[in-house]
Symmetry: none
Subunit: 220 residues, 4 copies
DNA sequence: TATGAATGAGAGTTCATTCAT
DNA sequence: AATGAATGAACTCTCATTCAT
C-alpha cells in the first residue's frame, strides 16, 4: 500500500513536503515530546495529514525519520571528535556535543521504536561503532581511561547524562557539565576495575528508544 | 471520597479491593509505565472501573497512592543504610537498594505529579533529606568521597542509574552494578573538584516526575 | 423487592429519614433542578443512598413524593381562595399564591413523571378539580370573567406564568404581576369569545411534568 | 475547526453529512429535547460521532448551529409580518408563525447557551429588535393595543405560549390559538394599565436559553 | 499526488441502581 | 433497617489511520 519502491528522486514538491514534515516533526517533538498529534505536525508543516501518511507509513516511521536525521549529526560529531589531537579532549568533546544534540530534542532520549524501524538502528550502529571504538581505543592506549572501558559504556554514559537534562535548574548546561565530570572521573584508570561488561552498542541503541512517552494507542 | 480522607477502617471487601487495585496498579505501572488505562488496572484487579473511582478520585490519585507506597520503602531503605557501621558501605547499600526499588517499578522513575498531589513530594523530601544528608556527611568526613559531593548529587546519580535499567541485557543487575561502580569511582576524593553544584533535593524530585508517560489526556 | 405494603406507621428513625430525604430533595431540586444526583440528596439528608432506595423505588418516586407535598399545599391554597368573599379577588389570590409556590421550586414546573407515578396526579386532580371549578364558576356567575373560561384554562395560565419566572430580571414578582394582569385582562368578559376549548385538568397536569430536565439516563 | 470558520465551500459529501447532522439534530432536539446524546444524533444522521466532532467543536456548537437556523427563520417571519397592511393582523401573524416555528422544535424553547456562543444571541437581538419594535409601534399608534405594551412583552408572550405546546391534547394548534387569543385580548387597550414594565429583549433572550434540559455534563 | 473528510476504538469520568454486611 | 461498596452502561471527546475526491 505504501509507494512500492520510492524512486530515488522524488518530485520537487513531494520532496519539499517531506522536508517540511520532518522539520515540523523535529520542532514539535523537541518542544512537546512524542505525544504531539500527527494532525498537529501536518498543520505545522502546512500540509494535510494524509500527505504525511503518503510519506511515512505511520507515526513510528515519522519519528524514526526524525531521529535518523539527528543521528546523522551524531555520527558527524563523533568523526570530528576522532579527528582531535588529544585523545582525552576528543572523548570529552564527543560526549559534550552529543549530549547537546540529545538535550536539544527531548524526543531523542525518551523516544520510541517498535519492530520494523530497527533497520536504521543497525545502520547507525555500523557507522557509529568504528569511530567511537577508535575514539575510545585512542584514549585507552594513551592511558587516559580505564582499560576495561568499552564503546557501549559511552553509550550508556550518554543515556545517563541525558537524564540529567530533565532536572529543572537555572543552568542546565552547568549541571550536565558537573555529572559529565563525575563520570569522566569514574572513567579514569583505577586499581579496582569495573565489574561486568558493557552492553553491546545495539543494546544501548535499543534502550534509547525504549518506547517511553508513546501514547497507549501506539503501544499495542 | 479522596484517598486521604478515608475512614480509619475500611470494610473487609473494600480493603481487599483497594489492595487489589493498588497491587494491580503497581504490577501494570511496573510493567508498562504510567500510560496503562484505569480500565486495564481495574480489570487486572478484577473489579469494575467505577470501583477504582470510588477508591481514587482520578487516575492521578491512584498513581500517587502507588508511589507513596514505594516511597515509604525508600525512606526505610535510607534509614537502614544510615544505621550501617561503615560509611562507604552504607552509601553503597543505599544506592543499590534504592535502585533495586526503582527498577522494580518503572513507574517510579518516569513518574508524574501535577498540582495538588505535590504535598507528598514535599513530605518525601522532609523525610528523606535528613537521613541522606547524614549518610553522605558521614562518608565525606571519613574521607571516602569528594568533599564537594552533596545530597542532591545522590538523587541525580539514582536517576541516571535508573536509566540504565532500560537497557535490554541478559543481566540487568550486573549492568547496574557496573555503572554504579563507575559513579562511585567518580565520587571518590579527587584533586580536580566537580564543577558547578548539585541541584537541590526538591529539584531532583521535580525531575523524577517530569510528566513522562502520562497520557496526553492527563497533561492538560 | 420493595417493602411490600409499608405499614401505616414507620419506625421513628425511618420516618425521620424519610422526612430528611424529602426535605433535602426539596432544597436541592429547588436550588439546582432535577438533575441533582441521588447521592447528593442522600448526603444532604445525612443518610446513605441505599437508604433513599429503601424509601423510594427510584429517583422518579422521590421526585414525585417531593412534588406531592407541594401539591398538597396547592390544594390548600385553592381552598383558602375559594373561601374568599369576592370572587374576582379569590381568583387573583389563587393564581398569585399558586404561582409563588411554583416559582419557589424550580423542580415544580420543569418536572417530570413517567408512567407509574401517574396515580398521584389523578389524586391531585380529584382534589383540585372541585375547588378550582367552584372558584371559577363563582367568578363567571358574578360576571367577572368570560363565560367560556374553564378550569383547565387556569391550569394553563399558571403554566404559562411559571415560564415568566425564568426571565432574569431584578424584580421577578413585579414581572409576574405584569403578566398575571395581562392574562386577567384577557379573561375579562368580551364580545369575541375564545376559540377552542380548555384542556382537561388531567391534560394540564400531564403537561406540568413533561419530562423536562431529566437526564437522558432517566428518559429510557 | 469550529463552525464559524468553515471554508466557503464544503466538499459534496461533507456538506451532505453536515446537513444530515443538522437535520438529525433538529429532529431529535425537537422530539426529545437537548439532552439527546451526540452518539444518538450521529447515528440518526448515519455517520460516526467523530464526524460530528469534525463539523462541530462540541455539543454546544451543534446546538447553537441548530438554533441559529431556526432564528434566521424567525427573523424572516418578523419581517414578513411587518410588511402586512393591517397592524393588528401583522401582530397576530407574527405571533402565530413564530409560535409555530417554536413548537416545531422543542429545543428552541427550552434551549441553552453558555459562554462564547453568546454572540449569536446578540446578533439575533440586533436583527429582531427593530422589526419587532416597528411591528408593535404600528399597532400601538393604530390604537389596536395598549400603549404601555413593549417589544419585550411580545417575547414573554411567545415564551408563555410555547409552554402551552407541551400540553398533550388532540389539537395542539387549536389550543395555542385559544391562549393566543386570550393574550391578545389582554393586550387590547384598557383603562387599567399593566403594572411594572417589560423585560428588555436581551433579558427575554437570556430566559429562552436558561440552560434547561442540558445534560448535567454540560452544566459544568 | 495531495487533500478534505470519515472512522473505530478507546480514554477518563459519572450516575442510577443493586449487593453484601 | 441502614450502610458501605460495587456495578454497568453511558457520555463527551480524541486520535491514529483510511477513504474518496
Amino acid at each position: 500500500m505504501t509507494t512500492s519502491a520510492h524512486p530515488r528522486q522524488l518530485r520537487a514538491d513531494a520532496a519539499r513536503n517531506r522536508r517540511a514534515l520532518m522539520d515540523a516533526a523535529e520542532r514539535l517533538f523537541a518542544a512537546r515530546g512524542l505525544c504531539v498529534t500527527l494532525d498537529d505536525i501536518a498543520a505545522e508543516a502546512g500540509v494535510n495529514v494524509a500527505t504525511a501518511y503518503r510519506h511515512f507509513a505511520n507515526k513510528h516511521e515519522l519519528i524514526a525519520a526524525s531521529l535518523r536525521q539527528k543521528i546523522d549529526q551524531a555520527v558527524l560529531i563523533a568523526e570530528e571528535a576522532a579527528g582531535t589531537e588529544d585523545p582525552w579532549e576528543g572523548l570529552i568533546q564527543f560526549l559534550e556535543r552529543t549530549l547537546a544534540l540529545m538535550t536539544e530534542n527531548r524526543a531523542l532520549h525518551d523516544v520510541f521504536l517498535p519492530g520494523q524501524g530497527g533497520d536504521w538502528l543497525e545502520r547507525l550502529e555500523e557507522r557509529m561503532q568504528p569511530v567511537v571504538s577508535h575514539l575510545l581505543l585512542r584514549a585507552r592506549e594513551a592511558g587516559e581511561v580505564r582499560s576495561e572501558l568499552e564503546p557501549g559504556d559511552l553509550g550508556v554514559a550518554l543515556q545517563m547524562l541525558a537524564t540529567v537534562g530533565d532536572v529543572p535548574v537555572a543552568e542546565p548546561p552547568a549541571l550536565l557539565r558537573r555529572y559529565l565530570e563525575l563520570l569522566l572521573a569514574g572513567m579514569r584508570p583505577s586499581d579496582t576495575p569495573l565489574p561486568g561488561s558493557a552492553p553491546s552498542p545495539s543494546e544501548v541503541l535499543a534502550a534509547m528508544p525504549e518506547a517511553r512517552n508513546l501514547s497507549p494507542r501506539l503501544r499495542r
